[in-house]
Symmetry: D2
Subunit: 259 residues, 4 copies
């Protein structure tokens, strides 16, 4: 099973990067499934129904998300959508769902979305939630991918070891910086601390850099904007998984930049 997973897609430039590079990446990697984290796809904060559909039209089979998904006006759509996940370790009463089973070409892939708790919200335990949901999905398929949307490297790595041998891949998101630690853990789980982001190549995690600097220098809080124009990049990983066993055979970092 071949999977392409894109890191946090940030605003218009993030969608532009997907549009620009996905066709060639599909040719090169021939993915069975294309997944991306879309928590910042709408103007840098959250998602909308329109942008969800724009992304699905580009060929995404499923969108994951994270702490930024909770825009009020998106909640009705999130509640009913089968194509957008929110982290599974929010309390049950939160709208939306945190895991999915997707099927294509006779292949089944379970996907679990989780959010970290270090420097973030006090959600349900991501370790126990991952354990519970991976067991549930294993009834359907050996191939399971986890998007762990988290800040602290320590929590990400710990969840990697916790899940080694129980899922096919644990891919970190949220920091918007791709890490160089991709590897296949001893029991067959592909791991990377952060896949990175798709969006503005020369901003600050996808935002206007002069606004980020103003914020750091004055400490006056402000909404950072995503500029419409500017050179873009795409960061992703490619995974190859043995369908019968769910073992990862390959994890490869991808970066494409506009000239």
């Amino acid at each position: 099973m071949r999977i392409l997973f894109l890191g946090d897609i940030v605003g218009n430039p993030g969608r532009r990067a997907a549009k620009l590079f996905l066709p060639e990446l599909k040719k090169e990697f021939l993915p069975d499934f294309v997944i991306g984290n879309a928590e910042n796809a709408a103007g840098g904060y959250g998602l909308t129904e329109k942008i969800t559909e724009e992304l699905l039209d580009l060929g995404f089979d499923l969108l994951t998300s994270g702490n930024h998904i909770w825009k009020r006006e998106f909640l009705p759509y999130l509640s009913k959508s089968e194509k957008v996940l929110r982290p599974a370790n929010y309390p049950e009463e939160a709208p939306g769902r945190g895991h999915a089973l997707i099927e294509k070409n006779g292949l089944k892939l379970g996907v679990i979305n989780l959010e970290g708790r270090v420097f973030m919200r006090p959600l349900l335990c991501p370790f126990r939630t991952a354990e519970r949901l991976s067991k549930e999905l294993q009834k359907e398929t050996s191939c399971i991918l986890v998007d762990f949307h988290a800040e602290a490297t320590s929590e990400k790595i710990a969840l990697g070891w916790w899940l080694d041998g129980r899922v096919s891949a644990l891919l970190g998101t949220h920091t918007h910086v791709q890490t160089a630690d991709e590897r296949i853990l001893p029991e067959g789980t592909a791991y990377i601390s952060d896949v990175g982001m798709c969006g503005l190549a020369d901003g600050v995690i996808g935002m206007r850099r002069e606004q980020a600097l103003e914020m750091y220098l004055t400490q006056v809080p402000r909404k950072l904007e995503v500029p419409k124009s500017g050179r873009v990049k795409l960061e992703a990983v490619f995974l190859e998984i043995e369908p019968q066993t769910g073992r990862a055979l390959r994890i490869e970092r991808i970066r494409r930049e506009e000239c």
Copy 2:
């Protein structure tokens, strides 16, 4: 010198409480100066020009604020206003000013607004800023009041000891809960960890309680609203200061509640 200081004024109910109780409090305490923290006066978040003027019309001589003052549209007014302070320990480039000298009835009062750093923003050191500004104001008057807008009791109490004998009063704000630790420190500084709030009596720090509960139960972030109706309360302290020496003679907690 007689001073009435009102804790965080939260939204419409907070202004209503001020309107309702200020007349009788003025009669009872005969304050030379009336000051209040207005960081939440506009709908629970920040301040506007219109509401500033509404409060000044009620008889406030000066308004202090805190972490919530930074609404984009208020910044031009904040930059030029002499009646609204923002915490003094933001970097110099931040709009607005953090201390003031107010005069009335031949009396001069220096006021310093500061923000804490524990669980809050990494501002300039409130201890050193207080030291520098109190020295500056002491050239004009012995009477100095500090509004320390902070979360952690430890930081508030430490600043109290640091300033004991250098200012007339250190009044905490921000938690919206009045503390019972008012006292005059050995060198003559009146101290209270938190003055409390003016606003909804039966909410959650001034906000709708069902929304606060929803947020705690689901962890889905949301803007909490301040209801227009509902029983209100006012929390404040009354200070009496010896004008020549700046020593506090009296600090008294005040609470008034609507029936």
Copy 3:
């Protein structure tokens, strides 16, 4: 039913304050039960077996605790003790227990210890844990007391409203500053945001003030010490509860200071 509850007992001065003032408080209030938060009773951090026994000898029927209870060497004792609670909303695998039923004079009191999550650890939901345990204890008694060891006023007040009518009292601890907001909520639950502390009267939340200042001024982390000598205070609340219904009839703040 008459209950005396002491706020965080901090180090040697905290135990000294209990020793000094408990006899007269017992005479005055004739409590059926005496409870105290002992998370800082041993040198300001945690508890030991010896100090637990010293406190029980003073007449405490039960000790609650909080974030500071987890000293490695105390865990074996905590695991088996029936007299020391740790917050109930730690994962099940954590040593110790979070609720208890105590009996005396033919009276039964359920006690639940909880820890907040705002600015603290990502524990289990204190709202749901309180709901579950209060239902469990209600099978035995209508009289239930909750010690909510938490930082943020908003979380404490929200839990107060959540539990109103379900428990007899929700008493906040952890900030070491007594709040002035004691009240009986409409459905009969006694509430106070923080009971305060027992310990050094002129320190910084019970610790040496020169060390606290050094830490704030240099930002160099250090263990704050509790001095052996120095004037002490005791902060507590007295509760009166109707045994049949569990409704609170009275909540009264107590402070005693050494001259």
Copy 4:
């Protein structure tokens, strides 16, 4: 000018990794200067005089550090040492120094150590401190290296843009995970969000993974230990700088793992 910079050296395995791989790296890269972040070199937390000397004997010209450097017993040595930096943006009263000028082979390199403030301590502004110290060092040399010990990618990237053209390199440390975003910014500053770590290859940021998991699962705080044995890795970057202009010519990620 050729520089080898090693990411956080964690405990015994970190020193072992340096001992194991430095000889071959020196042969391959022929560095003029070897620098490393040693904040975790002593048992995972802080540094000692003995271990400082052990590292200097291995060929380090200078050691940088971060939030973990403040072990009480190390402060006297830190105060006088010219070979160990602590972040420069601590208040002046903190022991130790935050920048240095090192010379060898007729080459001069300025080094600045800074600590981030997002999710960390409220230190002095790293942006302004970097500006001030880089100007000071520029009087002596065009070649300046900054170790920015910080958690948040946003703050690291923003400081990179802020310093582009003013220093030769901004190297992030602290997360213990090497990032894949090394580049030379448009004005000639080499940048990487995190250099990574030297130490245990199969732990959790250098610590025992079963202890990290226990901590995440129980939320009971504990000191994580660094095991003496286990496969080690070294993560570092190699920099080439044009001595006259201080412009970076090359930044290259390095990882070496024990078999």
